[in-house]
């Protein structure tokens, strides 16, 4: 194999795949990146066996097709430190040569035949989304997914596709976020898959804004999902297990509603939360008339009171929330206003941001 490549392009590609190569693995081959030189491009591949990524590097002149398998970490460092516009990569006698204007690195190669097969994810996508829509849907849900495993399969985001309608749901048992969207193209299939947080985060990180549409396909018999943009493909095993029946926990009997300015609400919560601590992390929201009073209290430190305007309808109500839960959601709200629907101080609240995004959050008992 022999190719000349734009250094910036290669650095970007290596950064994209290095999210999968783990430095702490008993199998050194999993620390490697596979470079496949084809026609007029070069594809970088890496895998940790559960999840694989491939990224296409353009601006490449391939003189001789072939593969290289080298340490992703070493190659990244060489490429990053170099000052050259282009680099020449070449294989010979078990070595990978990297040549710049004033430098020549020789790295030992691994045997490409030992590299685990990376699923190609070929074939037509089950549905396609605009990148912006993907960001909105994943941004609203991924933060609410559980970080730790539990008896439910909730350390991922549930994707459901039915009759051309897509919804994403995530929960950690204390709050639940749900977003609905519309795919750009779709098949008639009904889909239900829990995509691991790790794979979603990786894909969101390497998908460029300008890439247009992304395709998503789920191969149910292999229990695998393929997330594909024009340059990057992430394949991952799905989360196995049962996602809780989330529709049952979204309240339908809320009889109080507050219409709030997003930025003011976020700021008020953050300020009231300054006087909470690890053992008493509740902010009390007191709604009465047009005013919302937020109170934070850390027993031996002090108390914070923040007031803001709230268009509130219903009987006055005091309710406590973990401020972190509210801030997590408000941070990703893009609209100017949100509504908060409530029933009672021991019942969940629903934060809504437009008709397609809702967030159920359980209160803290006020002592």
């Amino acid at each position: 194999m022999k190719l000349r490549v734009n250094r910036h392009e290669l650095a970007e590609g290596l950064a994209a795949v290095s999210g999968v190569t783990t430095s702490r693995t008993p199998k050194p081959i999993l620390q490697c990146v596979l470079m496949e030189a084809q026609g007029d491009c070069c594809v970088l591949k890496a895998t940790d066996l559960e999840m694989s990524v491939s990224f296409t590097v353009t601006q490449v002149e391939v003189e001789e097709k072939g593969d290289i398998l080298v340490s992703a970490d070493k190659l990244s460092q060489i490429v990053r430190e170099s000052g050259d516009e282009t680099l020449l990569l070449e294989t010979g006698e078990g070595l990978c040569h990297v040549r710049g204007q004033d430098s020549h690195f020789q790295i030992y190669q691994q045997d490409t035949r030992e590299f685990p097969p990376v699923p190609s994810g070929g074939g037509p996508a089950d549905f396609e989304l605009e990148t912006g829509e993907l960001r909105r849907l994943v941004g609203w849900t991924a933060f609410a997914a559980a970080r730790e495993t539990s008896r439910y399969a909730i350390n991922g985001v549930l994707w459901e596709l039915q009759k051309g309608h897509l919804s994403l749901t995530a929960t950690d048992g204390r709050r639940l976020s749900h977003a609905e969207g519309k795919p750009k193209t779709t098949t008639d299939r009904s889909l239900r898959a829990i995509i691991p947080i790790k794979a979603l985060n990786l894909f969101m990180r390497i998908v460029g804004e300008a890439e247009g549409d992304v395709g998503i396909s789920v191969t149910e018999n292999e229990n695998q999902v393929v997330l594909r943009s024009s340059r990057a493909t992430v394949t991952s095993a799905l989360v196995e297990g049962q996602f809780p029946n989330y529709r049952d926990v979204i309240p339908t009997d809320s009889d109080k509603q507050a219409d709030l300015n997003t930025a003011e609400f976020l700021s008020a919560i953050r300020r009231a939360a300054l006087l909470t601590n690890d053992e008493s992390r509740s902010v009390k929201l007191s709604f009465q008339g047009d005013e919302l009073v937020l109170t934070g209290r850390a027993p031996e430190e002090g108390e914070a009171v923040v007031r803001m305007l709230a268009a509130f309808q219903g009987e006055p109500l005091d309710i406590g929330f973990n401020p972190v839960f509210l801030v997590d959601a408000l941070k990703v709200v893009e609209s100017d206003r949100v509504t908060l629907e409530l029933k009672a101080s021991n019942r969940p609240g629903i934060l809504r941001c437009g008709p397609n995004m809702l967030y159920v959050v359980m209160p803290l008992n006020l002592s």
Partner: protein, 636 residues
């Protein structure tokens, strides 16, 4: 023929004597108390063969005239009370008029006595209650009582006497119990002509206690003095690090008399709770001064037990006296690194084969608290074992009193503002800073404690006196525990409701206790409802718990409640659960901390009660003083 008959007079007396006189130590106790009541300024005790052959108590008190001497050996003859009212306002040690008569019933008793006015003394010899001899005798002013061949006429009892060394140890203990309470009086004790204790009179309590427990411990004693609601509690207690594995180092005196009282014992334990491991026992010398009318000491022949008019008052005052002091004292164990030249004691805690330099730094090489404690304990033990032969300890200067508040805590008050500022600082770190935050001008930061995390486990902090080595998990656990406890005292813990209730399988016993203790569970922030026959649904959990710990926590709680063998009181149960929650919520041993977190944690140490020990009683910090470092580096 009837099988029931009235016991002979002689037998009755022997039985009665047995209640008061059990062993030589009881003779010693009764005789010393008589000597005290006679107004002695010096009391000498001499025993032979552990007191089995001879107990002789000599005093320089008021003595007895001839007639009194004859009466003194009759039962219920006493000079100490005469009317029924006196019985309820007892200011003397003895009063029942039993002692001499009882002793006379079971031994060969010889009394010599002379009053200051008399020109000559008198002597009386009683054997098995029979006066064998009464005559004038030459003797100094005062009384000398000699008890030979105890139980010679009651073989059943004599058989049960232990060996000489055990009986002598009992005598030592009885002697100490009285002598400790009377530092104004000179005491000495000899066994087989060898001096066990020789304590001069006109001492302070501190000096007397110091002689008893050795200078090493004496230097660390914490003075207690508290008076409220008619009760004075004073004396000396040892810091928690000086705890013992047995409870016999708890000397409690009521109006000058040694007592054992479960209310006081409990109060003492309560005061030390969380400061030391639960299996250890504190060392205390407590003197209680109370109006004699508020306590009945006539409950037990040996007067070791008393009955309080208001036992809650006693409990709360003792607890308050100790707690108040502990809050104001710095209880961090100071590390005394041993001098390389100092001979290494053969104690189990020391590995004599180690190179000196290594061994001299126990805390660095082996952070376990047992070892550090071992350094102190073996020192004290060494002293005590030497004490038996040496006869008294070194006199302790009054200057040691100054040392008792050594490094005394500056008090929590000054730190309030600093804490507040830090918590703002902390919280704003958690979320992206807003532009507005910058405008807040924080109060002037407190004197900065420089601290460094090592091995993701310990914090090394600079203090005014030297350096402090902190166990990050233990300290954070203590901080969390105290906050949770205060929170609980105000009501219930913050409780996060769950969107998806957790279901946990339970046994029928657990199901039952869950219903019985519903209120306790609510206070902890748990809301549990039955879910089918053998499961429960957890609807709300303490907000402080991490997600992954919920199920395990609920199981632990129910196990604890269902443990029939060991039913804790609600208070103990809540404390246990708080400890468990604090442990789970605290940073772990091995967690890397940011410099800000390190600083915040060290700062919190100052604000926390009892921060010298984690809730399990392990120490949170060890101290090296500058003086100690200088000594080690041979700068002094």
């Amino acid at each position: 023929m009837g099988r029931i008959h009235v016991l002979s007079d002689e037998l009755v007396k022997k039985i009665a004597a047995g209640e008061v006189i059990e062993r030589p130590a009881s003779v010693v106790k009764e005789l010393i108390e008589n000597a005290l009541d006679a107004g002695a300024g010096r009391i000498s005790v001499h025993i032979e063969d552990g007191g089995r052959q001879l107990v002789r108590v000599t005093d320089d008190g008021g003595g007895m005239a001839e007639g009194d001497l004859r009466l003194a050996v009759l039962p219920h003859a006493t000079s100490k009370i005469s009317t029924q009212d006196d019985l309820f306002a007892i200011g003397t040690m003895g009063f029942r008029g039993e002692a001499l008569a009882s002793i006379g019933a079971v031994s060969r008793l010889r009394i010599r006595s002379r009053t200051p006015e008399a020109t000559a003394g008198h002597e009386i010899v009683v054997v098995s209650e029979e006066v064998e001899l009464a005559q004038a005798a030459g003797c100094p002013v005062g009384t000398s009582v000699e008890v030979r061949d105890l139980f010679f006429n009651v073989p059943a009892r004599r058989k049960f006497l232990k060996g000489a060394s055990t009986e002598a140890a009992n005598v030592n203990e009885q002697f100490a119990r009285i002598a400790l309470a009377h530092p104004e009086i000179a005491f000495d004790l000899q066994h087989n002509q060898r001096v066990t204790y020789r304590w001069p009179g006109n001492e302070s309590f501190r000096e007397r206690v110091g002689r008893f427990c050795g200078p090493e411990l004496a230097n660390e004693l914490i003075a207690i003095d508290w008076e409220e609601r008619g009760l004075r509690v004073y004396g000396y207690v040892a810091p928690p690090a000086r705890s013992r594995s047995a409870s016999n180092w708890q000397y409690v005196f009521l109006n000058g008399r040694f007592i054992r009282d479960r209310f006081i014992q409990h109060a003492v334990r309560e005061a030390y709770r969380g400061l030391m491991e639960p299996s250890r026992h504190p060392v205390v010398f407590l003197f209680l001064g109370i109006d004699p009318g508020m306590v009945d000491v006539n409950v037990h022949p040996t007067k070791i037990e008393v009955r309080w008019q208001d036992s809650n008052l006693i409990h709360s005052q003792v607890l308050a006296a100790l707690r108040e002091k502990f809050l104001r004292s710095d209880l961090t164990p100071s590390l005394r690194a041993r001098d390389p030249e100092e001979p290494v004691a053969g104690g189990a805690g020391h590995r004599a084969t180690r190179p000196d330099g290594d061994d001299a730094w126990p805390a660095w090489t082996d952070p376990s608290d047992r070892r550090v404690e071992g350094v102190g304990r073996s020192g004290a033990d060494r002293y005590r074992s030497a004490e038996g032969g040496a006869g008294g300890g070194m006199p302790l200067g009054r200057s040691t009193d100054d040392a008792e508040f050594r490094g005394g805590a500056a008090g929590g008050q000054g730190h309030g503002a600093a804490e507040l500022w830090r918590s703002l600082h902390d919280a704003s770190d958690r979320w992206p800073a807003r532009a507005g935050d910058k405008e807040l001008s924080p109060p002037p930061p407190p004197p900065r404690t420089r601290a460094l995390q090592v091995h993701n486990a310990y914090l090394v902090a600079e203090t005014d006196e030297g350096i402090l080595i902190i166990d990050q998990h233990a300290l954070h656990e203590r901080v969390m525990y105290d906050r949770l406890r205060r929170r609980l005292a105000e009501g219930v813990l913050d409780s996060q409701r769950l969107l998806l209730p957790e279901t946990v399988r339970v046994t029928p016993e657990q199901m039952e206790v869950m219903e019985v203790h519903a209120e306790l569970l609510t206070r902890l922030g748990l809301e549990i409802t039955p879910f089918g026959r053998d499961s429960i649904a957890v609807n709300a959990v303490p907000a402080v718990l991490r997600d992954s710990e919920v199920t395990a926590f609920v199981r632990d709680v129910l196990d604890k409640l269902a443990d029939r063998g060991n039913q804790p009181t609600p208070e103990v149960f809540l404390e246990d659960m708080l400890s468990m929650m604090a442990c789970k919520a605290a940073v772990k041993f091995g967690d890397p901390l940011t410099p800000e977190e390190v600083e915040a944690l060290v700062a919190q140490r100052e604000a926390v009660e009892k921060s010298t020990n984690c809730p399990h009683g392990r120490p949170t910090a060890l101290r090296f003083t500058l003086a100690e470092l200088e000594r080690q580096f041979k700068r002094v």
